[in-house]
């Protein structure tokens, strides 16, 4: 009896230790970035595990640089536009692919899935040319256009999966009333699609917010850069004198909104990711 109790106690302690390790793994790096960002530059090179005092000078440094604020504005413009375009084109395409049976549907689905697997660098030179011909080089428009290559296939795929699950009676009633497909989408499906659209929109927003390769290649001046490029290019006097305090402050600034969004919508995000992957 006693050994049995000891055994179960050991098991419980072991389990909670595992949870503790998991929490340190998940939280510590971000926590460490937060404390680094709140240190004055004089205390930066001393390793501390917690904060002794709070100092906002790193945040003041980055926000007094117009280029970082501009980068945040650029990122918001690009990400919001990309989400809007992907959802608009995605919902209509998902209706066609999810609710209508026609020849070539499987082919279109295959094409969409295939595009989502493209390595970005494989289209880099061709896309560079397209963007230059359209006169969108070094502008938000070029990034918005190029980001549809990874947001659109994903949006179409997840929304199609979702559309297929809606009951057919809904649509039959609309057809009997003589509603056109466009009216059917906007009046019948759209109200039911909000949860799925919120999920895919959020995932598309995160993808656009985080994108680096296109943003690095298709922009030239600091006025047009997005946040990831701005952070990657913060530099000091030399490679060994990187201003770590401001870098961490900038990193925390652009990550906190994302972490809060993900925490709020975590159930949605999990279901969106599994719909995009498992059911695909």
């Amino acid at each position: 009896m006693n050994t049995k109790f000891a055994k179960s106690l050991a098991k419980r302690i072991g389990f909670w230790l595992l949870i503790a390790v998991l929490l340190v793994y998940a939280i510590f790096p971000f926590y460490y970035a937060v404390i680094t960002s709140l240190k004055p530059s004089s205390a930066l090179f001393q390793v501390d595990y917690w904060l002794n005092s709070v100092d906002f000078s790193n945040y003041i440094t980055i926000f007094s640089q117009g280029s970082f604020v501009q980068a945040i504005v650029n990122s918001i413009i690009v990400a919001v536009s990309v989400v809007a375009i992907a959802l608009l084109l995605g919902v209509t395409a998902a209706y066609a692919l999810g609710r209508v049976r026609f020849r070539g549907r499987t082919t279109v689905m295959m094409v969409v899935l295939g595009v989502s697997m493209f390595p970005q660098v494989a289209v880099l030179s061709g896309l560079f040319e397209v963007i230059r011909v359209l006169n969108l080089y070094n502008s938000a428009g070029g990034l918005i256009l190029s980001y549809t290559i990874f947001t659109l296939p994903f949006t179409v795929w997840v929304l199609t999966t979702f559309m297929r699950q809606l009951p057919m009676e809904l649509e039959e009633a609309a057809i009997m009333d003589g509603a056109s497909p466009w009216v059917t989408i906007t009046k019948v499906f759209l109200p039911l699609m909000w949860p799925a659209m919120a999920t895919t929109g959020l995932l598309a927003f995160i993808a656009a917010w985080n994108e680096f390769l296109f943003a690095l290649t298709f922009t030239l001046t600091s006025e047009e850069r997005t946040v990831p490029v701005a952070i990657a290019l913060i530099s000091g006097g030399s490679q060994h004198e990187l201003p770590w305090g401001p870098i961490m402050a900038a990193s925390v600034t652009v990550t906190v909104p994302l972490v809060i969004l993900v925490m709020i919508f975590q159930r949605r995000i999990v279901s969106g990711l599994t719909a995009g992957a498992v059911k695909g």
Binding site: L22, V121, L273
Partner: protein
């Protein structure tokens, strides 16, 4: 599957009129479907199809970044050419083969580690305990952090002079002198792998967790009644049942790892020790402005990824057509 075929007229009155209207509605719907697909397909052609064709074409030309229009066709010279007694071209470039090897090594090691740790994390999160939702939310944090930010965060933690990792290892007495994680030839690849694994365990864990939660409980009850060891139950029951979901997660991760760019670019920039195919191709294209040569590298990367994709599509075909 809902289609107009299953449309049945509720009014029994004139059956012929109903059928006619059915086909008319059906034709209208198919026309509308294509109309709705056109904007999406045009966009995909503009940003994916046409650029890909151009990249293939550039790989057979001497195009430069400043002048992509005036490129001359030079055949396979970017790939391989015999000139004055020696072979030249991408296929003879040791830096290219180094980047191919780096990419394969990075992909194999990081995806394996992510899979193993992802399963472990999923099993922990699948257990019943107080505060499970909070822990699950916390595990999402690495996934939510932008790749550039996580690379910078880790670059700071792995800093050779002031980094907390070296401090920790030295305090514990595991190392005597600070390690140059991101600069040394032996360690930089492992530094990159650590960061990538850290960032993507949550993705694998969540997919596996979703699969775990759909498993039938009766197998486990039966196993418990028979007194089978949990480890044995995992390998004999759980693992085979979650294999389809796991396979999808692994292939998604593999495709991402094969085209990896940002985490390595930020952590170790253009160092040849960690240079992947994507970084090599971009360096040729943008920094050396050699669009022809860089496109040849991009084309080879595309072919490798296309091969993996074809395998995936073949595996996923049943699911795709299944509910149609």
């Amino acid at each position: 599957m809902t289609t107009s075929d299953s449309l049945s007229t509720p009014s029994p009155a004139p059956a012929r009129r109903g059928a006619q209207r059915g086909t008319k509605v059906r034709r209208q719907r198919v026309r509308a479907a294509w109309l709705f697909l056109v904007p999406m397909l045009v966009t995909l052609v503009l940003v994916a199809g046409w650029p890909l064709v151009r990249t293939f074409y550039f790989s057979f030309t001497d195009a430069s970044l400043a002048n992509t229009g005036g490129a001359n066709f030079i055949g396979f010279e970017n790939y391989l050419v015999y000139y004055q007694g020696a072979w030249y071209g991408l296929l003879t470039d040791p830096a290219w083969w180094q980047s191919v090897w780096n990419t394969l090594f990075f992909s194999a090691v990081s995806v394996s580690l992510e899979t193993v740790f992802g399963i472990i994390v999923a099993l922990i999160l699948n257990a019943e305990f107080k505060g499970r939702m909070l822990v699950r939310a916390a595990v999402l944090i690495p996934w939510a952090i932008p790749t550039i930010v996580s690379a910078k965060m880790w670059a700071w933690m792995l800093n050779d002079q002031f980094g907390i990792i070296n401090h920790l290892l030295m305090t514990m007495g595991l190392i005597d002198a600070p390690l140059a994680w991101t600069a040394s030839a032996d360690l930089s690849m492992w530094a990159v792998i650590i960061v990538d694994v850290w960032k993507t365990i949550p993705f694998v864990a969540l997919l596996v967790l979703a699969a775990l939660q759909m498993l039938p409980q009766d197998c486990y009850e039966a196993a418990e009644v028979d007194g089978i060891h949990p480890v044995r139950v995992f390998f004999r029951v759980t693992l085979p049942l979650i294999t389809p979901a796991l396979l999808v997660a692994v292939i998604f991760r593999l495709l991402d790892a094969l085209r990896v760019f940002d985490v390595i670019y930020v952590l170790t920039s253009n160092s040849t020790n960690t240079m992947t195919m994507s970084i090599y191709a971009r360096q040729q294209l943008v920094e050396f402005q050699d669009v022809g040569y860089g496109s040849a590298a991009s084309t080879l990367l595309f072919l490798i990824i296309a091969l993996v994709t074809v395998i995936y599509l073949y595996l996923g075909r049943r699911q795709l057509g299944g509910d149609a």
